[in-house]
């Protein structure tokens, strides 16, 4: 078997892997290798040809290809090595080995000082959310359709219904319309928009595409190609009101119903997974329960902004490099980071206390939308960080920065405090 040695091996060449590679190299790792299954770097951003990326990081509005282009330029400059068309089959965390396929080299074993997991996420499907009906052609996840339309020069349909008002769903509504399809409607189970208002305005309202909030698809019709879907309003428990069901004719249904971190390799390696995020448990260095393995980006938790993925991944790359060079800070103590009022999850979930004073960013999502709140982190009764927010929303990631020197006790809790 072909063998390669490197300091930091990064699985995945999307935005997370690219950012981790640059920071690992900048931190001083000598040989950094990205293992990518596609025939090019950039990951999902290759098909995200629309603008809206980089507003917080670069202070300008970039398209997906422009955004990752800045990183690929940088990794070329820094001398990061890349193995394309290589699917990782196994991560052996004890031996710090990654086994992958490659048509040119055969089965390849990469031996590394540390490993960064940056595999991203996959889409939830029609079957995951159990939409009854037939199983005809013409049902696509929004991302699969996006790949076909934007990368493979293939048009998937002419008359489209979209389930889910997440950003990908709305962006595909605009994309299909610009390519000549008729988007009949976007159907959203919740009573509020899942994605950004901006996308509602520019992707739906601009083209007169109706948005049906608090509605769902109750069943799918058509034996060969889809011929229509039944759409019904839902009650306060999100149960469809079947008496109000109506047939909507279409030849294509796109599902934009959520993303799930892709952690097959992680689970197989026995790394501890958080049941809420579906991603590995990590500390502030983005180190998993297996010390030589780090993780970042959507494999850890699904982000809404690539800008956040980049900064989190730079953290992972930096500390993976330090681990490989044996320079990780000496941990004196480990404390838990837990969820408080109206917080669904936090990331990282563990914090290591060392002599090195750090600013630690804690990312979290809320359970319910709320207005006029204070985001707070506290140890026992002592609030160690807080900030005011006009609005919080489950669809938008929040974050709070804490000063490691202020941490006391065994636990820090993040909560959303409602103001009176």
């Amino acid at each position: 078997m072909y063998c390669i040695k490197c300091d930091v091996a990064i699985i995945g060449g999307g935005p997370a892997g690219l950012a981790a590679a640059t920071s690992a190299k900048e931190e001083g790792a000598d040989k950094v290798l990205i293992i990518e299954r596609d025939n090019a770097l950039g990951g999902i951003l290759q098909q995200c040809i629309h603008p809206g990326f980089g507003l917080t990081r670069f202070n300008e509005e970039l398209t997906g290809p422009e955004y990752y282009g800045r990183f690929t330029d940088k990794i070329a400059e820094l001398g990061v090595e890349v193995m394309l068309n290589s699917m990782v089959l196994e991560v052996n965390d004890k031996r710090k080995e990654v086994i992958c396929t490659n048509s040119e080299y055969g089965l390849t074993c990469v031996q590394a000082g540390s490993i960064v997991l940056a595999m991203g996420c996959r889409e939830r499907t029609r079957a995951n959310i159990v939409v009854p009906g037939t199983r005809p052609a013409g049902l696509y996840t929004a991302g699969a359709a996006q790949r076909l339309v934007n990368r493979q020069n293939i048009m998937v349909g002419k008359k489209v219904v979209i389930l889910g008002s997440g950003d990908i769903g709305m962006i595909m509504a605009r994309r299909m319309t610009l390519e000549g399809a008729k988007v009949v409607m976007v159907v959203e189970l919740m009573s509020y928009l899942a994605g950004l208002t901006r996308n509602r305005v520019q992707c739906l309202d601009d083209f007169g595409i109706p948005l049906k909030l608090a509605h769902t698809i109750t069943r799918i019709e058509g034996n060969e190609r889809v011929t229509g879907v039944y759409v019904a309003p839902v009650d306060e428990n999100k149960k469809p009101i079947l008496e109000k069901e109506e047939l909507v004719e279409c030849d294509t249904v796109l599902f934009s119903v959520g993303l799930i971190p892709e952690n097959e390799l992680t689970s197989k390696a026995g790394i501890e997974i958080n049941r809420v995020t579906n991603g590995p448990l990590v500390n502030q260095y983005m180190q998993t329960s297996s010390p030589a393995v780090f993780a970042c980006g959507n494999v850890v938790h699904v982000n809404d902004l690539v800008d956040n993925v980049s900064s989190e991944s730079e953290q992972a790359g930096k500390y993976a490099a330090r681990f490989a060079m044996n320079k990780l800070p000496d941990a004196k103590k480990e404390i838990k980071c837990t969820v408080g009022r109206n917080v669904r999850y936090v990331c990282p979930q563990k914090l290591l206390i060392s002599d090195e004073a750090e600013k630690i960013s804690i990312y979290f999502r809320v359970l319910e939308p709320e207005l006029n709140v204070t985001l707070a982190a506290r140890c026992g009764d002592t609030v160690i960080a807080q900030k005011k927010e006009f609005r919080v929303n489950p669809g938008e990631m929040n974050h709070i920065v804490i000063d490691s020197s202020k941490l006391t006790g065994d636990e820090v809790t993040v909560e959303v405090v409602k103001e009176d």
Partner: protein, 479 residues
């Protein structure tokens, strides 16, 4: 006009098993099916179990054939390279009423000559299957109940029959059967007329329509819908045996069992319906599965579902498995009432049909060059690293993983397309190599499979179907 000795109508498990058995003899056989792929209808959407026949109606043809068939699978699946496992079934009694019925069920098994059924105590069953309802009072263990890959099974029968000279005419709808002087003369299909001496009607759901063409419409097919859930391989609550409920009058009830590939299968419902094409799932049906199976396995996690499907069992009115030959219609063999045990009994039916043909005067002589071995598609993911390395070096397409969920390489997909009776559609690829059968359901590999199919078969991507004509995947190019 095409000319053959035997036309088998229907390329499901039964049709292919008959063709496979006949391929051992010196006789020309042609299998006709309206679908573009072998695998039939009911044969590809069932519970994938090879039964023992313990619960059949004793003394019936169904009982004889199922009981006889079970023991044939070890050797057959070996020589045809079909995934098959004897995992055994357990029949737990949860209520006292169910517990009291166990002796009667065991007695029936004996009358079906299934003698290896054993009583187990509740504690023993929980030992065997820790996720069972802890209130289990006891039950039966049926060791030879087994699981199979139903797609590969039918493909293997068809491929091997094809290797041994059986012709297949797929995508051809039978329009008429011509007879002359009380004898079969020819079969008229949408792809032309075939002169033949025999017609074997193994058309499953449509066998009554075929029978009508020769004036033997003595029964009607009643489609009985069965809905299923498939759960993720990583689901939190799994079982290792086929866990069966105590049967009721209507159905064997809803079961939970592993598939050959480590998923969990949960179902089916049993709903009689008029339509022979409506294979939709319904929320009422799916909800009933979850509710019922929770009685057996309380922690079953339906939320881990990766797909749901339904199949139609071709039930018969009046009921029961029937094999019919007619004195006034020489050369016509009619099979009807092949229902949930059809997959199991298919191989015995093949032998039974041949025997009946001989009994009725057909002189069948064995071929001396019959090839009994069939090699399946090499599964890259199941090889040792050394073999994987070798495979990639011999054929670089093994280095290109197309389906990430099931780790299926481009080489496997190309083999599925190019082998005898190869895949022409996206679903046909899926049924041969499992690309798209994993947790992302083709979200990742679907676009690539369309391109590989187009390339290998020299068609445009717009001509690639999901399965049958009309199920086009894409509508054109953007530029």
């Amino acid at each position: 006009m095409l000319k053959t000795d035997v036309v088998v109508i229907g390329a499901g498990a039964v049709g292919c098993a008959i063709a496979h058995e006949l391929s051992k003899y010196k006789i020309d056989v042609l299998v006709v099916d309206m679908n573009e792929d072998v695998g039939g209808d009911a044969s590809k959407s069932n519970s994938a179990i090879i039964h023992t026949g313990y619960d059949a109606a004793p003394g019936t043809l169904e009982s004889q054939l199922v009981v006889a068939a079970n023991s044939m699978y070890d050797e057959l699946t070996q020589s045809l390279d079909v995934p098959f496992k004897r995992i055994g079934a357990i029949l737990p009694a949860i209520t006292q009423e169910q517990f009291d019925r166990l002796p009667e069920i065991k007695e029936k098994a004996f009358r079906n000559h299934v003698y290896d059924v054993e009583f187990k105590t509740g504690a023993e069953l929980l030992e065997m299957e820790p996720n069972l309802n802890p209130e289990v009072k006891g039950g039966l263990y049926i060791p030879r109940e087994s699981i199979i890959d139903p797609f590969i099974f039918v493909q293997a029968l068809a491929e091997n029959a094809n290797t041994n000279g059986v012709e297949f005419m797929l995508g051809a709808r039978v329009k008429d059967i011509k007879t002359e002087n009380g004898k079969i003369k020819s079969v008229v299909t949408s792809c032309g007329e075939i002169e033949t001496r025999y017609v074997i009607n193994s058309a499953g759901l449509y066998c009554d329509e075929i029978a009508e063409m020769v004036g033997k419409a003595e029964y009607k097919v009643v489609a009985r819908k069965g809905q299923f859930y498939i759960l993720d391989k990583n689901t939190s609550c799994k079982v290792e045996h086929i866990v069966l409920p105590i049967p009721t009058k209507v159905t064997k009830g809803k079961l939970m069992c592993p598939t050959m590939h480590g998923n969990m299968l949960v179902g089916p419902t049993a709903e009689d319906q008029e339509s022979k094409v409506d294979k939709s799932t319904t929320s009422a049906g799916l909800d009933s599965i979850a509710a019922d199976v929770k009685n057996l396995v309380p922690n079953v996690n339906i939320r881990d579902t990766i797909t749901q499907y339904s199949g139609l069992r071709p039930n018969r009115n009046p009921e029961g498995l029937h094999f019919d030959m007619y004195e006034d219609l020489e050369g016509y063999i009619n099979l009807s009432g092949v229902r949930s045990t059809g997959l199991t009994l298919s191989v015995a039916m093949g032998k039974y049909v041949v025997q009946q043909m001989m009994y009725h005067g057909e002189e069948l002589e064995l071929k001396d060059n019959f090839i009994s071995e069939r090699k399946g598609i090499i599964k890259f993911s199941e090889q040792t690293p050394e073999v994987q390395d070798k495979l990639i070096k011999e054929n670089p397409l093994y280095g290109n993983v197309i389906c990430r969920c099931e780790t299926i390489t481009e080489a496997e997909i190309v083999d599925a397309i190019n082998r005898p009776l190869g895949a022409k559609s996206v679903d046909a690829v899926k049924r041969r190599v499992r690309a798209g059968m994993g947790r992302c359901q083709g979200g990742f590999c679907g676009p690539k499979v369309i391109e590989i199919l187009a390339r290998e078969t020299g068609r445009s991507t717009t001509d690639i179907n999901k399965n049958n004509p009309g199920s086009y995947m894409v509508t054109g190019t953007t530029r």
